[in-house]
Symmetry: C2
Subunit: 201 residues, 2 copies
Amino acid sequence: MPPSPVSVRAISRHAVRAELARVAFNEFCATGFNQVTFADLAGATGVSRSTFLRYFTNKEDVVLFLFDPIGDTIIEALASDARSDDDWHALRRALNPVVDFLMRDTSEVMAFLDLIYETPALSARFREKQFDWRPNIVRQLQRTHAAPDASIVTQVRVAAAMECFAAALAVWRESEGREDLSTLIDTSFSALDPTIAIQTS
Amino acid sequence: MPPSPVSVRAISRHAVRAELARVAFNEFCATGFNQVTFADLAGATGVSRSTFLRYFTNKEDVVLFLFDPIGDTIIEALASDARSDDDWHALRRALNPVVDFLMRDTSEVMAFLDLIYETPALSARFREKQFDWRPNIVRQLQRTHAAPDASIVTQVRVAAAMECFAAALAVWRESEGREDLSTLIDTSFSALDPTIAIQTS
DNA sequence: GTCAATAGTGACACTGAGTATCAGTTTAGC
DNA sequence: GCTAAACTGATACTCAGTGTCACTATTGAC
């Protein structure tokens, strides 16, 4: 009995989740991620610990679920990519909508990245999240773009592309947003671009 | 008062650690990593829970510390690498001693990889371990091999190289050791090699 | 061989994340 | 308004990981 594709309950759930996360984020920034317990968060949000826990799969998710859409964004970008050149450039292009997504509210994203990079538990989970995107990206890339010889080649290229993104993001946040994220991603990608020959000293 | 570089106590500690890990590994394989508690391990090894815990930084470390030497192995390989061509091929060569290390006891390593890959918590920590090797590798590479333009380029190349290794290792274990690990690493590396131009369709 | 410093041990208590259950309440949709 | 479903808070629980403390064993120096 799924009454409608987007039920009223789902909307409510989303909104509550966002509000809980908002309050929690302030607590984390003020006191430190590890110092704040779920009991603290329950108190700060006026909801019971049980209820708070039901809205998130784990403590890191309270911060990181903001970045959940990125995985699907990449998939969609690859799916709607008309050009059919090599997969490496397709992967680069697929990151453009991600950059757009992050640039919608630079200061908010930067605040999140600050908290993430200064909290080992959060950075570790953030990397895990990015890792979890990979299989779907590999599948999509094999479907829409000339799948190369072996599966391992595609897997490695996707992994490398995601690492390029991660490295660019890290430098971007270190520069406090002064450097251009797109340019940084370009630099990362060209450091590995298998379609251009770099002269060996 | 450090009496000698390698004290008797350090040797004992190492040996005890190895023995505890050996027994624990059997328990993990028999019952499943998540199902076995530290209390169980204490019982199986005949040592108290407190003592067992003192030998490892966390539960995953009981399994994964076997792979600790790999980080240093890579560093040493880079340091003693005479050739000074591009950093990408230097990184590839630095993995040869790692392959040697893994091939010393193929069946043991394979048993470990089986447990790791079937246990999400272990694979996640395994990736974290590999991630932790990166900064030192970057530093060593910048010292000994023609450091390229920007720091981000080296960082990306090291990250990509480690992902090549990880991908090759995963395929190797899936093949149950039938495929050649060195060849798989070669394939991975050439999928990204920035020194050879691949034709674009 | 004795002895003092140091390290290892087991017992215990504790925090905090995450899971599970359950009775009571709210809400959606007919 | 009614019913089935979802949401809530309370409670109890498991287990990883930390910290402390008294006790024992070992080491290295004398």
